[in-house]
């Protein structure tokens, strides 16, 4: 059964993707740790952290592509699930600080002492345990997506209306997390992390390990997505995307399919956020900003929606461009460039980079098979 699913899931594009990600997962830490800084091939630590960030973004893009590219659900609030996963990890990291904080309170994180809180809020309980925090990383975004989706999909909210309410969802969460009495550090968020499972989060080894773990998470999520989209479930998703009413009249309960895939996607986004936080060292309410979610949708559009590999590639390319352009004299114009990129891709490359590549190969194959067919149907005249 598993072997069958694996064979079905891995085509040529998927193989190339898996090989590249696996090579990076192993190669980058080796080039950072094993080579002396003087070597031409040495990768400095700041780049390892940067690549780690991109990998988390790629994972987020994958989760968006799963629902948008295959089921037509355009979520403009996926950053919310990413940030919730990030906060869950941040809470664990905060509780690991212990007496090493500025106020040296063994239980309360610094910001609570600063706010004169006497006791730890109930929802912070348990976060000192890593497995519990990991569970919350998946559970909190998942439950929110389930409840949200249950109402939205049952009421048959679709298209731009759904996009608007997802946007409202992330905006509402942002406003909530900005408040000090919400209990998540308000404006400043959670930061000043010390260690994760006893390893110093700043150390070279931990950073390399986190990078490799992010790559592994990307690989697992990719395989999961491939297994889903190549199953009959995935075919139903595409059917819903292309002709929702037809799918209903065939007897499929569209809302359950949407709900399942939306919840799963939110869990994936949560994992991406959880891996992101220890690598960037901070999580604050600006991660909920509606703009972040829209940016993530642009990555997917640029790479090619409905391709999975394209989503990951788009996330890396656009973020690389962002890093490159926002560090030079062009910095003030980055948002204009991003907007222009989105418009340009929509007009000139509606399938995205990888989508266009796939389209070309499909065309060439069709032409070849048409030519072959002609050869068969028009036999040479008999002498």
């Amino acid at each position: 059964m598993m072997a069958h699913i694996l064979i079905r899931s891995i085509d040529r594009g998927a193989t190339i993707f898996l090989i590249i990600v696996a090579a990076i997962a192993i190669g980058v830490p080796i080039l950072n740790l094993a080579l002396p800084p003087s070597s031409d091939f040495h990768i400095p630590l700041y780049l390892v952290a940067l690549f780690g960030k991109y990998t988390c973004y790629a994972l987020l893009a994958l989760s968006i592509d799963l629902i948008w590219g295959f089921c037509g659900i355009l979520s403009l609030g996926h950053g919310a699930f990413f940030a919730l996963g990030g906060y869950a990890m941040g809470m664990y990291l905060m509780r690991q600080i212990g007496t090493r904080g500025v106020y040296a309170d063994p239980i309360l994180p610094d910001f609570m002492v600063f706010l004169n809180w006497k006791e730890l809020p109930v929802y912070w309980y348990g976060f000192q345990f890593f497995p519990y925090a990991l569970l919350m990383v998946v559970l909190v975004p998942g439950v929110l997506a389930f409840v949200f989706g249950w109402f939205a999909f049952r009421s048959r909210v679709t298209g731009v209306y759904l996009s608007i309410i997802t946007q409202a969802l992330t905006f509402a969460l942002m406003l909530g997390f900005f408040r000090n009495n919400f209990g998540f550090g308000g404006n400043n968020g959670l930061t000043d992390f010390k260690d994760l499972l006893g390893f110093n989060v700043q150390s070279e080894a931990t950073r390399n390990a986190l990078f490799s773990i992010s790559c592994v998470a990307l690989i697992i999520a990719f395989l999961l997505c491939r297994a889903i989209v190549t199953s009959k479930f995935g075919k139903v998703l595409i059917a819903i995307r292309d002709a929702e009413a037809r799918t209903r009249f065939l007897g499929y309960r569209v809302e359950s399919y949407k709900l399942l895939v939306f919840t799963l996607s939110a869990c994936m986004a949560g994992v991406a956020g959880a891996l992101y936080v220890p690598q960037v060292g901070i999580i604050n309410p600006s991660e909920f900003a509606p703009g972040n979610s829209i940016e993530a949708v642009i990555w997917v559009a640029v790479g090619g929606r409905g391709t999975l590999t394209g989503a990951a590639l788009g996330a890396v390319l656009v973020n690389y461009a962002k890093t490159y352009f926002t560090s030079g004299f062009l910095a003030p114009y980055w948002l204009f460039m991003l907007g222009a990129l989105f418009i340009g891709v929509t007009l000139l490359l509606p399938r995205g980079i990888v989508g266009t590549l796939y389209h070309w190969t499909a065309l060439r194959r069709d032409r070849a098979s048409a030519a072959a067919e002609e050869g068969v149907t028009d036999p040479l005249p008999a002498e």
């Binding site: 009959k232 139903v236 595409i238 292309d242 037809r246 209903r248 009249f249 065939l250």
Partner: protein, 249 residues
């Protein structure tokens, strides 16, 4: 449950209003099991609304729709109605364009429709044979691996009919199956529907009178949301009122 009627489909006093406009006005008629019925009528007579009510897309303001004697369709949603065995073909052929012909049939094939079942589903040999058989019936074997988007209009109509058959419904609702078809295709479609009618009950909505004549079945003429006349094609086309509102003098 005690059957309330022996008819397969029984509409009783169904009324549907949209913003004060009565699309269906106290509509009542019955379709017997195994029957093929043609529904005709001018534009706006309520033919498509009637199908929407039967398939659960539209809820009537008044009236009952009984299926198989005991199910009240006005209380069920589209998926439940489809599971009971009512298949619908749309006016505009609606197939899944980014799926192959084969996958379109695979999705329509009678099976467990739950999301969980679809995740673990694997094609079985009987299902494979059933798809082969359907491809034969709808004459699309040669294009089974082509995307539905690349099919001609007539081929799409057939694919949709094939998808209906794959569902193994008791009742087929077919909305304008020959719109935009060539004469040969129309002829073939009439044969196909007659073939299907051997095992299943069929309701055809159609404007093409030559096609309806070809089918040679009982005809119901709708007008302003209720039944104007019912009978053989000759009886109905001789009816004064039908001539006046629909056929023209």
């Amino acid at each position: 449950m005690e059957p309330l009627t022996t008819s397969l489909l029984y509409l009783n006093g169904v009324t549907v209003s949209f913003d004060g406009f009565r699309a269906l006005n106290n509509l009542s008629f019955a379709i017997e099991s195994g029957e093929m019925r043609a529904i005709i009528g001018p534009n706006g007579a309520g033919k498509t609304t009637m199908m929407d009510v039967v398939t659960g897309k539209t809820r009537p303001d008044l009236g009952d729709v009984l299926f198989d004697g005991s199910y009240n369709l006005t209380k069920l949603d589209e998926a439940e109605i489809a599971e009971l065995g009512i298949g619908r073909k749309f006016q505009k052929p609606t197939v899944f364009e980014s799926h192959t012909v084969n996958d379109n049939l695979e999705l329509a094939l009678k099976s467990d429709r739950r999301a969980r079942a679809a995740l673990w589903w694997q094609e079985t040999p009987p299902e494979r044979r059933r798809i082969d058989e359907l491809l034969q019936i709808i004459r699309l074997t040669a294009v089974r691996d082509r995307l539905a988007a690349s099919l001609s209009h007539g081929q799409r109509q057939w694919l949709e009919i094939g998808m209906l058959l794959a569902q193994e419904p008791k009742l087929l609702l077919v909305d304008e199956p020959v719109a935009g078809m060539t004469d040969v295709e129309t002829q073939q479609t009439a044969e196909l529907l007659k073939e299907i009618n051997r095992e299943r009950t069929v309701v055809v909505v159609e404007h093409d009178m030559a096609f309806v004549r070809e089918l040679g079945v009982k005809v119901t003429c709708l007008h302003e949301g209720s039944v104007l006349a019912e009978g053989t094609i000759d009886q109905v086309s001789a009816n004064e009122r039908v001539v006046e509102v629909y056929l023209g003098r």
